[in-house]
Each structure stands twice: as structure tokens, then as C-alpha cells.
């Protein structure tokens, strides 16, 4: 037993804990009600709920647009049976935000574009009420943008795989990304090297001890080794040939001297012997013999190595055991003498490893991520889901699709009040982009108006607070415990910020009151599989 679960902002740095993080959500729907219970425990405790035996407060809770009935049923069960609340009202977060941002008591129509962590919704509002059948949801949000950005950078910088964390990606999205008003035009600007220089953002990663060499893939390492093998073999061959040439020249000279003896030119012969620092014709003879056999051997070796050159390149094992250690200094081809002791024909000695760092290696630059076009690519996925291979239409096309379902008059009404909310709408340039898309799809010289929520992240909460205070005594919007028991957990009371209620009864789940299962056409109970979650 420990201090209990840690929740939300109390977690501090997420990266060391990321593998342990749990959430009740699957996309934007709570599916694991035990984890939901932990969250509610935490929330009620921290709010200072002190009532005994129940949470004696009405609850306003957000739910997904067109929340599955099963999910609402489980949530209501948790609230009423576990916490004993008196009444609950379910609403939609972006509608609460809309409520907060419009003048009070004004029934309005409009088009809400709401983008959060998991999905993006386009919600038409007609005379203060959600027109649910014409809503659309794109299954992309901030989390997919972060994931995309992460993969892009990891593929560009494979050596920094672990350092490219989701937390850092969210930082780039929040602080360094923007939405292009015209995506193709903006990309053209990025082609220009000056624009790139002025607009690339460099993220400095903390120093890590990994050397450049060790981050190569195994394929790269093999390729390197083979290249080094080839280089060494060429070097050896060259040196052999040079030596052979020298020896051959010397041999020729000695043979000439010997000819002097054979020809009987004794004076010149003796003079030559003195020059050669030799004492007798026998000594000359033995030298000649040694040298000619050496020349022969060298010629043989050269022939052999030419044949085996092809074979050795395929072999992945290095010829000498010192190959690895010499890796850094191999670039320095000028100092051939360094190789002499190791690659002579005698058995190579084991040298101490040479750890020279490349002279032009910039340690700081190696640890920098250059974020260029990625600044606009990641936020763009909600406009072009095809960037990540998703088939769904993006915001603009979906907007057009929805507008086309209405008469011209209603279309005009809706576009006069386009409202943007949700954290994933906060990129600089988002409003301008939506306006540009509307300009392209609306009739020539027709009017439209786009507004951003005053606080796209928190206005949902502020709106729910405003709404709750405005409707405390309005019995028509709260679901009481009695109604829960009579009409089931899936029951919903509609109001200006709620879903539409479709009156379908779910059978009660297999409960602790054993065997009270209503047989029904649409069975909501499980043959719960043991398959994995989420």
C-alpha cells in the first residue's frame, strides 16, 4: 500500500513514468470505470468533500458527443450507486465553451469546430440546440499530432531515439508550431535556404555519452567494416608493389655487378663491391640469391591477393582483431606509417586502442534537433489526414459536407457564427486558415465570421460552471436518483449543452443482484473477451 494514485499535474515529469500511466479513456469515451472511480476519489478528496456515506452535491459532468449508451449507463451507476450523488447533468465540453463565449440568454445558431486531444468535432447548432444528426467527428487530435511529430524526428535523428520523447514533442507543438494559411504556399517558402535559416527552430537536447560510431545500425557497421577491409587491402597491395619495385631495382644492380665479374672486368668489380659494402664475390652471390627469392615471393603474394580481394570483401569478420579500435583513426590516411607495425606480413601485434576524436566533430550540433517544416506538418493532419494515411476527410472537406446538408439560408446562418474551441485549435494561424477555407468554399462575396474561444482549453469548465449556476433550480435538466432507478443509467435529460437522447433501453448489466437480466433484442451485455484494452 502506498500513497494512493497520483493524478494529473501532481505527477510532475511524465517521461520516467510514461510506461505506468493509466487512463479510463479509450479515445474520448471512458471505458474503464475502476480507473474513473480512482479519479473521482481523488477529485472529491481534493475538493474537500466531507459528507458521510455519499457525495452530497449535484454533479455536472461532460460526456462525448453521441456518447455510447453503455458508457453513460456505467457512469451513472458509478455516480449514483457508489457516490450516492443526488442529481447529475451531462453536457458536451465544446457546448459549454460555446455557452461561456456567447452573450447571455441569446438563442444562437452556429457551427462549432472543437479539437481536443483525441478527436475533432464539427457541431452545427440550430436555435440553441445541437443538431446531432449532422455532427461529424474526425478521429484526430493533439495526441496524433504529437505522435506524428515524434516519428518524423526519430526517423530524421535515429541516434536520438530515446531523447525524442512525447513531452518534448508537446513542447514543440505548444511553443514552436503553427498552422499555415496556405499549406502548399508555405511549403514553397520553406524551400528557400534563407527562409529556412530564419525559421528553423533548433532544439538542444541534453548531452549523452553515446559516441557517434555506436549509433550506427548493424547494416551500417557491416558496410563500414567492409569499406575498411577494402581500404587496408588496397594499402597492403600498394606497399607490396612498391617494395617489389625497390627490390627489383636493387637486384638488377647486383646482377649488373655480377656480370662485371663474369665479363672479367676485375677493377670495376672490386670498386663496385666496395661501394656495396661487400667483401667477396660469394657475399654478393648470397645477397643476389636472397633478393631474387624475396622478389619471387613478393610476385607470388601479389598474384594471390588479387585473387582473394573479391572473396575477402564478402567476409564480414575483420582480418585483424584491431580493426574496431582503429576505427576513428582510419580516416587519417596520410599516416600510413601508423599501419606499418600492424599490417606487415608477420603476425600482427595487439596495439592499444587509438581513441582519437574527429577534429571537426561539433558535440553541441550533434545534440540539436532541427525543426523546420515539421512546425507546420504536425498540426496539418487535421486538415489533411492523408498525411498519416488516414482515410477520413479533414476539417475543410467535412465542413463542406455538413454545410451541404442544409438549405442555403441555414448555411448562411451557420457560417456567420463559426466558433473554434479546444486545445488543439490554439496554433498560431488557425483562425486565418479556417477563414481561408471558408472563403474558398462559400459563394463569392458571401459573409462569414470566425471566432476563437477566449480560453480554448478552460472555457469548457467555465461554461459548465456558468451553466450550473444558471440552472441550479431548473428541475428539467437534472437527472435525479429516482429517475436513474426508473429509467436506467443510459437515461439523459436534454438541455442547451447536452447530447440528444435516443430512448433505447439497455438491459441492466450482470449485477450483484444476480440474474436480473432482461432478455432483449439489443443486448448490451458482454461475453466479455479477454482481449486487450484500447
Amino acid at each position: 500500500g502506498g500513497a494512493g494514485p497520483q493524478v494529473g499535474n501532481a505527477l510532475g515529469s511524465l517521461e520516467p513514468l510514461r510506461w505506468m500511466l493509466r487512463s479510463p479513456f479509450d479515445r474520448n469515451v471512458p471505458v474503464n470505470l475502476e480507473l474513473q472511480e480512482l479519479l473521482l476519489d481523488y477529485s472529491f478528496q481534493h475538493l474537500g468533500v466531507s459528507s458521510q456515506g455519499c457525495v452530497d452535491h449535484p454533479i455536472v459532468l461532460t460526456e462525448a458527443v453521441c456518447n455510447p449508451l453503455y458508457s453513460r449507463q456505467m457512469m451513472s451507476e458509478l455516480l449514483f450507486e457508489c457516490y450516492g450523488i443526488p442529481k447529475v447533468a451531462y453536457g458536451i465540453d465544446s457546448l459549454f465553451s460555446f455557452y461561456h463565449n456567447k452573450p447571455k440568454n441569446l438563442m444562437s445558431s452556429g457551427l462549432i469546430i472543437s479539437s481536443g486531444y483525441q478527436c475533432t468535432h464539427i457541431l452545427p447548432i440550430l436555435e440553441g440546440r445541437l443538431d446531432a444528426k449532422n455532427c461529424k467527428r474526425i478521429n484526430l487530435g493533439g495526441s496524433q499530432a504529437a505522435g506524428y511529430l515524434q516519428r518524423l524526428l526519430q526517423l530524421k535523428y535515429p541516434g536520438h531515439l530515446a531523447a525524442i520523447t512525447l513531452s518534448r514533442m508537446e513542447e514543440i507543438l505548444h511553443e514552436h508550431s503553427y498552422v499555415a494559411e496556405d499549406y502548399v504556399e508555405e511549403l514553397q517558402k520553406w524551400r528557400c535556404p534563407d527562409y529556412y535559416e530564419n525559421n528553423v527552430h533548433k532544439m538542444q537536447l541534453p548531452f549523452s555519452n553515446k559516441l557517434l560510431g555506436s549509433t550506427l545500425s548493424s547494416e551500417e557497421k557491416q558496410e563500414r567494416r567492409q569499406q575498411q577491409l577494402r581500404r587496408l587491402q588496397e594499402l597492403n597491395a600498394r606497399r607490396r608493389e612498391e617494395k617489389l619495385q625497390l627490390d627489383q631495382e636493387r637486384l638488377d644492380r647486383l646482377l649488373y655487378v655480377q656480370e662485371l665479374l663474369e665479363d672479367g672486368q676485375m677493377d670495376q668489380f672490386h670498386k663496385a663491391l666496395v661501394e656495396l659494402n661487400m667483401d667477396s664475390p660469394e657475399e654478393l652471390q648470397s645477397y643476389i640469391q636472397k633478393l631474387s627469392s624475396a622478389v619471387e615471393q613478393a610476385k607470388q603474394k601479389i598474384l594471390q591477393s588479387e585473387v582473394t580481394l573479391e572473396v575477402d570483401v564478402v567476409d564480414s569478420k575483420p582480418e585483424t582483431p584491431d580493426l574496431e579500435q582503429l576505427e576513428p583513426s582510419l580516416e587519417d590516411v596520410e599516416s600510413i606509417n601508423d599501419f606499418e607495425p600492424l599490417f606487415s606480413e608477420e603476425t600482427p601485434e595487439v596495439e592499444k586502442p587509438v581513441t582519437t576524436v574527429q577534429p571537426v566533430f561539433n558535440l553541441a550540433a550533434y545534440h540539436q534537433l532541427f525543426v523546420g517544416t515539421e512546425r507546420i506538418r504536425a498540426p496539418e493532419i487535421i486538415f489533411q489526414p492523408s498525411l498519416i494515411g488516414e482515410e477520413q476527410a479533414g476539417i475543410a472537406e467535412t465542413l463542406q459536407y455538413i454545410l451541404d446538408r442544409y438549405s442555403k439560408d441555414i448555411q448562411d446562418l451557420l457560417v456567420q457564427n463559426v466558433f473554434l474551441t479546444g486545445g488543439n485549435m490554439m496554433y498560431p494561424g488557425m483562425k486565418g486558415r479556417i477563414e481561408k477555407e471558408l472563403l474558398e468554399m462559400r459563394p463569392f462575396q458571401s459573409a462569414f465570421k470566425v471566432r476563437l474561444a477566449s480560453n480554448p482549453v478552460l472555457d469548457a469548465w467555465y461554461g459548465a460552471r456558468d451553466w450550473a449556476l444558471d440552472h441550479l433550480d431548473d428541475d428539467e435538466v437534472w437527472i435525479t436518483r429516482k429517475e436513474y432507478e426508473e429509467k436506467g443509467g443510459e437515461y439523459l435529460k436534454e438541455h442547451c449543452a447536452s447530447n440528444i437522447y435516443v430512448p433505447i433501453r439497455l438491459p441492466k448489466q450482470a449485477s450483484r443482484f444476480s440474474d436480473t437480466q432482461a432478455p432483449g433484442k439489443g443486448s448490451g451485455t458482454s461475453g466479455g473477451s479477454a482481449g486487450e484494452q484500447a
Binding site: 500500500g1 474503464n32 475502476e34 472511480e37 507546420i376 494515411g389 476527410a393 450483484r512
Partner: protein, 150 residues
């Protein structure tokens, strides 16, 4: 049957991450939590029916995921115009997707026949040809273009 409010079963599998992040304390298999007192505002006997509870036994221990929930929802008696979670899914795009370079994100006029990566300049082409195969596969997977080799 008494079940403590704070007890949980082993093996809750990893959920997708979202805004509501949390780290659970370690679980105990015993019937009573040692350290945490049951919270005063809860019913200590509460059991989630969705989790299978005591009745369904071992088979029903895990929560349904969204896919499973939606599968059951589809089977309900909806009318044609009723809005529900799956009917409000945005339709697939009818416009031809623009092609962008996998490497730089610029408009791509060309595709490498060997690796199927898209590129826009000659420099990008030589960069692509020198990429290790895992990076190539990574770029293709990013736009769901990996082919299944028999």
C-alpha cells in the same frame, strides 16, 4: 458480499493515454487494503456491474474497450436518422490526396521505385538511397504505406 471500495483486481491492462493521466499505487491481492482507509463519501459495498462483478466470474474480468462497446451499440434498435457514436464518424475523403516528400514534407513530384519513398529534390534522392532499411520502413509506416510481403 462485501467488497472493499478500494480493492482492485490484478492485471488491469495498459490504457491509451489521455488528458486524465494517473499512476496507480501497487495492488494487493488481499481482501482489505492495508494502508488506505475506505473513503467516507463512498459506498463500501459498491461493485461495478460492467466489470462482471461477482456473478460472471473469471471470464469477465476485463473492461470492454471502445471497439467492443460500439459493436454492441450497433446492435441496438436505432432509427435511420438517430445520431449515435459511429454514425457521426466523418466520411472518407473524396479529394485526391496531395503527395508530399517523406523526408522534407515539400510537395513531392517523384517516387523512388526501389523504396517507394516520395521525394522532391535530387539531394533528397541521394539521402533516401543511403537510408538504412528500418528508417525506410518507418517512413512508409508513417503514412500507412507498408506493403505486406507474402
Amino acid at each position: 458480499k462485501k467488497v472493499p471500495a478500494a480493492g482492485f483486481t490484478q492485471g488491469i491492462s495498459m490504457e491509451a493515454m489521455s488528458e486524465n493521466k494517473m499512476v496507480p499505487s501497487d495492488f494487493s491481492t488481499g481482501p482489505m487494503e492495508k494502508a488506505a482507509k475506505p473513503l467516507p463519501f463512498k459506498d463500501p459495498n459498491f461493485v461495478h456491474s460492467g466489470h462482471g462483478g461477482a456473478v460472471a466470474g473469471k471470464k469477465n474480468r476485463t473492461w470492454k474497450n471502445l471497439k467492443q462497446i460500439l459493436a454492441s451499440e450497433r446492435a441496438l434498435p436505432w432509427q435511420l436518422n438517430d445520431p449515435n457514436y459511429f454514425s457521426i464518424d466523418a466520411p472518407p475523403s473524396f479529394k485526391p490526396a496531395k503527395k508530399y516528400s517523406d523526408v522534407s514534407g515539400l510537395l513531392a513530384n517523384y517516387t523512388d521505385p526501389q523504396s517507394k519513398l516520395r521525394f522532391s529534390t535530387i539531394e533528397e534522392f541521394s539521402y533516401i538511397r543511403r537510408l538504412p532499411s528500418d528508417v525506410v520502413t518507418g517512413y512508409l509506416a508513417l503514412r500507412k504505406a507498408t506493403s505486406i510481403v507474402p
